[in-house]
Amino acid sequence: MRPVARSAIATGLVLLFSQSGAAAGPDQGAQLAATCASCHRLDGGGTGIPSIIGLGEERLTNALLAYRASESPNHIMHVIALSLSDEEIASVARYVAKQGSNPR
């Protein structure tokens, strides 16, 4: 991941842009997670659509890679994952893994 995005993550999980002067830059993980939020509640609530909160970075990454590889079992997630590069998958998984838990 580019240093810009890393420094943004370090300063904020909620704001989609870092506010810290020289290091200001968009947070790639947060912007990509905005897509997730159209169907998955990022506060972990909701039913009917599987929660993506509390899964951990590795499981999220592997799930996105599997969805990207195959239309089955879910063509919606296939289309979403196909639009993501490896770097984007890593950064959205890292961001989402930090939601709703108590990150350090």
């Binding site: 810009v4 370090a10 300063t11 904020g12 999980l13 909620v14 704001l15 989609l16 842009f17 506010q19 810290s20 200001a24 830059g25 968009p26 790639q28 912007q31 990509l32 905005a34 897509t35 939020a37 159209s38 169907c39 998955h40 509640r41 506060d43 609530g45 909701g46 039913t47 009917g48 659509i49 239309e71 063509h75 919606i76 296939h78 289309v79 979403i80 196909l82 639009s83 993501l84 930090k98 939601q99 709703g100 108590n102 990150p103 350090r104």
Partner: protein, 422 residues
């Protein structure tokens, strides 16, 4: 400006976000002002994501209504499967959690040179950037006899609210054996599968309560979205109940007669017990008046920033735009709104713009426990939004897969309305 530590941000979820986003007011530094006109799906999403993007931006949302009723899932209400209240969403969370200034007025005029918006109460708002998301309007004189008075007798129910309730009342009081006529509009229009979803869910209601009733769809087109999936479902669930007549067969609907509740085509007159007339559409009135629409009646935009191709400094999202391959759906409006908010925030804060990801995902009900889904991704190519990858449910899917999609749709509604209205 307050600088945040990572630990502080880690705790900012739900209600905590409320205080957090209200606190860091830039001292001694003027905030950039963004005004968003229209608190529907596109406008509310832009406002929410802009407000969360950067504390250096002050966001004002202009919307006349105190609460918004979703068109999506309104067909379930028409079928008696959901209370009307469940479609309704207020603006309190946007104001409290995200610090958005919500002004319940209608925008009367836009003055791009002065960068101001005139409100219907006579006051004025200044902006650095303007976002316009007024949804749709109906084309004047598209159908002879279909004026405001006729709408109260033959509702369109294509903006959710009083019109939707009126259509429900009519369907409830209709006698068994009555004819429900649905007039389907020409392309492009809001939500391509929705007229046919409406016919499907009204059929499920009739099957339960008025099994001798019939449904006639008089279409302005010769084919429609996901036609194979709908026609397969109509044969399976409601054999003999729904008849669809394409324009090539009827010559198209030319007029209505509200007094006799009749729909008139080139060759015949159909007298309805209940008529749902969905007329031809264009971008919302304000977009027309402000010179944001071209001769097509829709608004051309830059596919990356959603800035108007006709008025610099003014952005548009949602049904009002010519979205290339993007259909007019709530999901697209929400997806465009995020891309637009990130582009505006990047510009106003002087940060880099990341590649946008644009999607449409749609769940459509064929029966209460039978839904199908589709998903499409889009990319800007040569100044237009092109569809890149597209998948849709198949006719031969098992009933278990369809039942799961109907359940997933409910989860989608919950998450999606949270994403838009907080």
């Amino acid at each position: 400006m307050k600088s945040w530590t990572r630990r502080e941000f880690g705790r900012l979820t739900g209600a905590a976000l409320l205080t957090a986003l209200n606190q860091p007011k830039a001292r001694g530094q003027a905030k950039a002002r963004v005004v968003v006109i229209g608190g529907g799906i596109g406008g509310a999403t832009v406002a929410r994501y802009l407000a969360a993007s950067a504390t250096a931006i002050e966001v004002t949302l202009v919307e006349p209504r105190q609460s918004y009723a979703t068109c999506f899932f309104s067909n379930l209400y028409l079928a008696g499967l959901r209370p009307f209240e469940s479609l309704s969403h207020g603006y309190e969370a946007l104001a409290k959690q995200n610090g958005i200034i919500v002004v319940h007025e209608s925008a009367a005029a836009i003055h791009p040179a002065a960068k101001t918006v005139a409100l219907s109460n006579g006051s004025k708002l200044s902006y650095d950037r303007l976002v316009v998301a007024p949804g749709i309007a109906f084309r004047d004189r598209a159908l002879e006899g279909y004026d405001e008075a006729a709408m109260e007798i033959m509702p369109h129910a294509w903006n959710a609210g009083q019109q939707t309730r009126l259509l429900r009342q009519q369907l409830e009081s209709m006698e068994d054996g009555g004819l429900f006529v649905l007039v389907a509009p020409p392309n492009p229009f809001r939500c391509p599968p929705a007229p046919y979803e409406r016919a499907s869910l009204v059929a499920s209601y009739f099957q339960r309560r008025k099994p001798k009733a019939k449904i006639l769809i008089l279409d302005a087109k010769d084919s429609f979205n996901a036609q194979d999936l709908f026609q397969d479902a109509w044969n399976r669930h409601y054999p003999g109940m729904i008849e669809w007549l394409p324009a090539q067969f009827t010559g198209g609907v030319t007029a209505v007669d509200a007094k006799t509740r009749s729909v008139i085509t080139a060759g015949a007159t159909f007298k309805a017990a209940v008529a749902n007339v969905i007329p031809a559409q264009m971008a919302g009135r304000l977009a027309q008046q402000a010179g944001l629409a071209n001769r097509s009646g829709w608004c051309p935009v830059d596919p990356v920033t959603f800035e108007s191709a006709l008025q610099p400094g003014v952005h548009l999202v949602g049904d009002a735009i010519i979205g290339g391959d993007m259909p007019k759906s709530a999901f697209c409006a929400n997806s465009q709104a995020k891309a637009c908010a990130f582009a505006i925030a990047a510009d106003l804060t002087g940060s880099a713009r990341l590649p946008a990801h644009l999607f449409n995902t749609c769940y459509t009900y064929l029966a209460p426990d039978d839904a199908f889904s589709n998903a499409i991704s889009f990319k800007p190519v040569d100044g237009k939004l092109k569809s890149v990858i597209s998948f849709v449910s198949k006719v031969e899917e098992s009933s278990e897969v369809r039942r799961q999609a109907a359940r997933a749709a409910e989860g989608w509604y919950d998450a999606f309305t949270h994403d838009v209205f907080g």
